[in-house]
């Protein structure tokens, strides 16, 4: 093992419910902080005595604290989601590759998130909105199953005010919903995509990322202009444990953010 295997103690400083099963936690270091993360990177979060899971950073880059948006899907994520302010959470990281949203300077930045997939994209959106003048357009397309499952919904207006075009759609509307009802790919057409001058960042369920990328390719973008964030079982975070094998890639090391040029042929293989 390496020193990076021992979780560093952080404390929950703030807790925000996003949906019925998703919580955003802000963590402050109990002692010396870890190296700050880049948009798209992930941390291993440890619930004392329960276990550890990989969770993308969802907060602004460069902040002293750490922000993570966690969905309760297993024992560890349930324990983390129920953590109250003051509670200790262990953290290792940051791990993996980042979005490099600044590659889109002078071009259009197109961010497409499905469900909680918006969480790893949020740092890239926040970073881009700090210097919106360096991009031609910043567009954020958001899809969720229902209005109640939208994450960061309170912020979309602020993103618009900072210069982004933000479009939101849901698969199933409820009584109070007056927005789009469709899959997220249908927002691409009306977004005014300039396929030659766009960098697209996509995160969501694998099938959503594939269909979205196919829509962008059909609109004339190339696979190298598209980046996706992939998920596999991750345990060590440093390419030693072997669980995150994805064909030639070790996703904790070569991912989670991967060019669609590399990801497309792999995503088409069943049970890879």
């Amino acid at each position: 093992m390496t020193m990076s295997q021992v979780p560093v103690s952080y404390r929950v400083s703030e807790r925000q419910d996003e949906t019925h099963d998703t919580v955003t936690l802000t963590l402050e270091p109990a002692g010396a902080p870890l190296e700050s993360s880049k948009p798209g990177q992930f941390m291993m979060l440890y619930a004392f005595g329960v276990g550890e899971v990989p969770v993308s950073v969802s907060g602004p880059p460069g902040a002293a604290g750490l922000t993570h948006t966690i969905r309760a899907v297993g024992a560890v994520s349930r324990a983390l989601c129920s953590a109250a302010p003051g509670q200790a959470v262990g953290v290792r990281g940051p791990f993996g590759t980042s979005w490099h949203e600044s590659d889109a300077f002078g071009q259009d930045l197109l961010v497409i998130g499905g469900g909680i997939g918006l969480a790893p994209l949020r740092p890239a959106v926040l970073a881009a909105l700090r210097e919106p003048g360096r991009y031609r357009h910043i567009t954020v397309l958001i899809g969720a199953r229902s209005p109640a499952e939208l994450v960061f919904a309170a912020e979309y207006e602020r993103w618009r005010d900072s210069g982004a075009t933000v479009e939101v759609t849901v698969d199933r509307a409820d009584a109070g919903w007056h927005g789009h009802v469709s899959v997220v790919t249908q927002l691409v057409g009306p977004s005014g995509l300039d396929p030659r001058r766009t960098l697209a960042l996509i995160c969501g369920p694998e099938v959503m990322m594939r269909l979205t990328a196919q829509t962008l390719l059909a609109a004339g973008m190339t696979a190298s202009q598209i980046r996706v964030s992939l998920e596999r079982n991750m345990q060590c975070g440093v390419g030693e444990c072997g669980h995150c094998q994805f064909g030639p890639l070790l996703l904790c090391r070569d991912g989670p953010v991967v060019s669609y040029h590399a990801a497309a042929p792999l995503l088409s293989i069943r049970e890879l």
């Binding site: 004392f48 998920e231 072997g242």
Partner: protein
């Protein structure tokens, strides 16, 4: 230790009785000496309290899913092929504590990495295939990527006595993989065993300063040209006596386009997904972690243990395992071992030791599976 040993120094002759002195001098230098020993009908790697425990006069008969000891006509100590264990059990232990933590009165916790053992290990009888396997694990777990790891610190103090292979087994194919039968580099001492009527001698070469220093206490005489010729001939002949062959050229590309091959279904119908091949393989490195607490819940530990890509849980993500079929798991193992290992770590993950063939309970033969895939998918050119 075990610096590159490309440049060969002078060679010496050591009578077989001199192994005792070599063993003892390593012990005196503070090493825990580990080597092959007969235990429960197999030649396994254990701590040796004396060189007498080496498997003098024992050989093995190997087959897919078969391993039997046999008495040899001579007293050779190292004329047996790879056994069920490999050196990874010492450098990358099957189960190991990573850290422990306890809750502090303020509701936080304090964690400490587990104390690393400071034992210095000396390996006697490292076969060329296994020497290469150690170097492959170095690439994954060691100094290049994780210089501060316990693997790296354990590894840096290992003293390696390699033995050129003069008698490959029925399931061996190191020549195909370019890893033997002559040891390439990375040893402190290299032995070549010479047996004949009334003769049992080792040609000894040093491959590092530490190896050189060990020679001082041994009963050596300069190797005569006749002994050197015999030693070279027996290793060269060994290259022609491999029980198996694998055409390793182009495997990375072949496997990269193999995903829909019918052969995967065929092998999956025989494979039990037991994971024996991954445990016996000297390069398989995967691990899993387990977090445990005591009854109070105030003391927690993390343990790491060997894992296998044949386990259903291995690829578990929140919705279930990614690789739920046996077919996809066998495909993962083979394509990683012989294909994507190149992408990830710059070499093949197979050294041709044959362990996965011998210790497969249904006798699946990796060389046969590769040949079948090559036949089905065509040669390396076919896909271009």
């Amino acid at each position: 230790m075990s610096a590159d040993s490309e440049s060969r120094g002078p060679a010496w002759l050591l009578p077989a009785s001199g192994l005792a002195r070599l063993h003892d001098s390593l012990r005196e230098a503070g090493y825990q000496v580990i080597g092959p020993r007969v235990v429960n009908g197999a030649i396994v790697l254990r701590e040796l309290s004396s060189a007498d425990e080496l498997p003098f006069g024992w050989g093995v008969t190997l087959a897919p899913g078969g391993y039997r000891l046999r008495r040899r006509a001579d007293h050779a100590a190292f004329a047996h092929s790879a056994g069920p264990g490999s050196w990874k059990q010492f450098l990358h232990p099957p189960r190991e504590q990573l850290w422990s933590a306890h809750r502090t009165p303020d509701g936080g916790y304090s964690a400490d990495s587990a104390a690393a053992s400071d034992a210095k290990l000396a390996f006697i009888g490292v076969r060329p295939c296994d020497l290469r396997a150690i170097q492959i694990q170095d690439q994954v777990l060691g100094a290049p990527t994780h210089p501060d790891s316990t693997y790296a610190s354990r590894r840096s103090s290992v003293f390696i006595v390699a033995v050129n292979c003069t008698e490959p087994g029925e399931t061996c194919f190191c020549t195909s993989m370019g890893t033997g039968p002559r040891a390439g580099r990375g040893y402190d001492l290299l032995l070549t065993e010479l047996t004949g009527p009334g003769d049992h001698t080792f040609v000894v070469e040093a491959g590092s300063a530490a190896g050189e220093a060990t020679l001082a206490g041994l009963d050596l005489r300069p190797a005569d040209p006749g002994a050197m010729r015999r030693a070279q001939a027996s290793v060269s002949e060994a290259a022609g006596k491999m029980g198996r062959t694998m055409h390793a050229d182009g495997l990375r590309d072949l496997l990269a386009r193999s995903h829909d091959a019918a052969r995967w279904e065929d092998v999956a119908s025989r494979c039990l997904t037991c994971g024996n091949c991954t445990m016996a393989c000297p390069t398989c490195f995967c691990t899993t972690v387990e977090d445990v607490t005591d009854l109070s819940g105030d003391h927690a530990e993390r343990w790491q243990s060997w894992a296998s890509c044949f386990d259903l849980d291995f690829s578990y993500v929140h919705s279930g395992p990614v690789r739920s079929s046996g077919e996809s798991r066998y495909r993962q193992w083979l394509t990683h071992k012989l294909g994507t290992w190149h992408d990830q770590f710059g070499s093949s993950g197979c050294v041709g030791c044959g362990r996965c063939i011998v210790w497969c309970p249904v006798g699946i033969d990796i060389t046969e599976e590769v040949a079948a895939l090559q036949a089905e998918l065509g040669g390396p050119e076919a896909g271009e």
